[in-house]
Amino acid sequence: MGISGPAEDAADVAIIGAGVVGLAIARRFVLEGARVLLLEKEPDILAGASKGNSAILHTGFDAPPGSLEHACMQAGYAEYSEIRAALNLPLLETGAMLVAWTEAEEEALAAIEATALANGITDVSRLRPEAVRAREPNLSPHARAALLIPGEHIIDPWSAPLAYALQALANGARILRNAKVTAGRFDGACWRLSTPAGEVQARNVINCAGLYGDLVDAALRGHSDFTIRPRKGEFVVFDKAAASLLGTIILPVPGERTKGVVLAPTIFGNILVGPTAEDQEDRARADTRTETLRALRARAAEILPALADIQVTATYAGLRPATERKEYRIITDPARNWITVGGIRSTGLTAALGIARHAYGLYEGLGHRHIPIPEPATPRVPNLAEHLPRDWQNPGYGQIICHCELVTSREIEAALAGPLPAADLGGLRRRTRAAMGRCQGFNCLARLAAVTGRRLAVPLAPGPAA
């Protein structure tokens, strides 16, 4: 073994993990001309850390100056802005206010402003309490001051990575789902990876396994340079009746003792509050706790008092793949044709496109060269943002299945078809918003069960009525 060369159909790179980072890397490598194979252990993409976040497109104003994280965020922000029109990706231009509620927080603003300037974010400004109120009249009157960061915006946290996936596929990538890499060996030129979908071959491997990044490194490289320590963040989403109450992202001033929470509009017309930061061992379980959810709701109503009268539409928790260190853990292992992209925490959604460019640079550094695709295909994703035209506004949609989010049967069918059909309810929800509205399926769950039938890996109804 080990003498025979790679098979004809061996990929240039196998990417392990179809989160936002793996998908952005797949897209980048395909556009650069590489043959890409993406392996995902779950039935659908975005099943791990990427499914639960606050959906903010960050400027990187508070990232450590000179850090790789900061560089990737700025590059990611720039590329998202550049490609979003072509891919039909929405942007809600909200700006953010980092609001000081105490004297100590007010004093901390100067250092944060200095960091922002050092990071090249020069349009930040300090706001006095009157200016804070003028911008957000519904905010608690106890705001003492704020730092305005006009470039912080809101995006759709799921359609963006879906667009990266669809563009990768349209230009020749292969994505295998239900394809957990269970073993692998490297013969000096080629990796042979075992998956339930069969053995696959690739000259290089890029580990984007997120919450399992250290385990994949340990299993295939023999060791990992870091240990994942999952950090859970719980969120509460308020009804769309709250949308008119807030137009700006409200960020907390990071403190010594307390980690504040973000209050932000969502691109779907809700307001969300979160995340908490709870370290845990479990890499898969993102459960919520009633006490925590109550505390989040109460904190949201302290910041924006009118929220006390607004119903909660949804609650969820996400897991961030934190490690023992704050910074990204991007490691090349030239002897094994291996790159690990790990420890991408809260900034991954913003930075993914930048991380992908960085990863391609590292790959070129290993001596690989390809010819970029001259005119790549650019599939457009369906718009789900509330402030832009939706499918129900165009005739011929069949019927509206989810009334709260106005999701049409045409949208449901489209999400269940195409090159990357939704494989479970979560995937369908992320692609269409079905059952994500205020009634949480009271009206549409049974219809969805009937419409999706056996097309989902886990059917909504296990069986017919007895």
Binding site: A241, D287, T288, L293, A314, Q440, L445, A449, A461
Partner: protein
């Protein structure tokens, strides 16, 4: 929301939003009372509202002097409205209310725009979902309200679970039990946060008749499971917790008026269904307190009679 060019407005006498008992009763009385253009908008594919999901009796004593199933009741209400001259537009979703009787709606044939002398909101009520109740734990399949369970059982003939826990003891919990029986599911327990049942005495023994354990002073503190519900943690008021194996959770009641259309227009109704805009009024379960289908039907008729008097002035 944006849309290309606004469609031409249709002038009508009455626009009723929602073809449930209240809306159909109002439409019937208004059309029979001589108004020529009475239009009912219904977002579902069939008229009838909530009773349509109710395979069980008793419905119809007040309206038709006989006991019929919810589905039959829904059909009869719709027939009565149509015979009186009202037009029911199905698959048509009210989108936004404007001042003075303007309404935009979405339909599979394109956007519609109406101007009406009166708009009757009869959008009904729904139950609070798990999220609104802030019940923690995992997010597996199998957690729903009674309304969804009834749609599974009677409209789609599907079984979303076999052994659910039912939360709450209002009258609708009995509907949940009947829906479970209809699909061959056996509830693992009925739980109630209060010390006793919320339903009137004679019905309180109902769950036990079916052999379902009832736990008072008890709440669900956590739902657990991977793909589907596997168990719940029950917490008694004295703090004692235990787990109970089940494959679903039905949250019953916790009534929330379907008021987003009115709220978005900045309208709030008094108990007679009137608001600051004289062109807009409400009937049925959009107005608390919760009413049976028959009581909702009565409010629709009453409101319609007062509209007829108004318009005759």
């Amino acid at each position: 929301m944006t849309s290309a060019t606004p469609p031409p407005a249709s002038d009508v006498d009455i626009l009723v939003i929602g073809a449930g008992p209240a809306g159909l009763a109002a439409a019937t009385v208004l059309a029979a009372g001589g108004l020529r253009r009475v239009i009912v908008l219904e977002r579902e594919t069939a008229p009838g509202g909530v009773p349509r999901h109710c395979g069980h009796s008793p419905f119809g004593m007040r309206e038709f002097r006989r006991l019929i199933s919810g589905a039959e009741y829904a059909r009869r209400l719709a027939d009565a409205a149509t015979r009186a001259g009202a037009v029911i537009l199905l698959r048509t979703t009210a989108i936004a209310l404007g001042p003075g009787g303007i309404l935009s709606a979405a339909s599979p044939d394109g956007m519609l725009r109406f101007t009406a002398k009166r708009i009757v909101l009869a959008t009904g009520v729904r139950e609070s979902p798990r999220a609104t109740r802030l019940v923690g734990g995992d997010r597996p399949l199998g957690v729903m309200n009674t309304g969804a369970l009834q749609a599974f059982a009677y409209l789609e003939r599907l079984a979303p679970f076999r052994r659910p826990v039912i939360v709450g003891t209002e009258l609708i919990a009995l509907s949940a039990i009947l829906a479970c029986r209809h699909i061959g599911a056996r509830p693992a327990a009925l739980i109630e946060a209060n010390p006793g049942p919320s339903v009137p005495r004679p019905l309180a023994a109902f769950p036990r008749l079916f052999g379902i354990p009832v736990h008072y002073n008890t709440e669900i503190s956590e739902i657990q499971g991977g793909a589907r519900v596997e168990r719940v943690t029950l917490r008694r008021r004295d703090g004692v917790t235990r787990t109970l194996a089940c494959d679903g959770v039905v949250f019953t009641a916790g009534w929330v008026p379907e008021a987003s259309l009115a709220h978005a227009a900045g309208l709030a109704f008094d108990s007679d269904g009137r608001c600051s805009d004289p062109a807009i009024c409400a009937a049925g379960n959009l107005l608390p307190p919760l009413k049976t289908a028959g009581r909702s039907w009565c409010t629709g008729r009453r409101l319609a009679a007062s509209i007829l008097r108004d318009l005759a002035k």
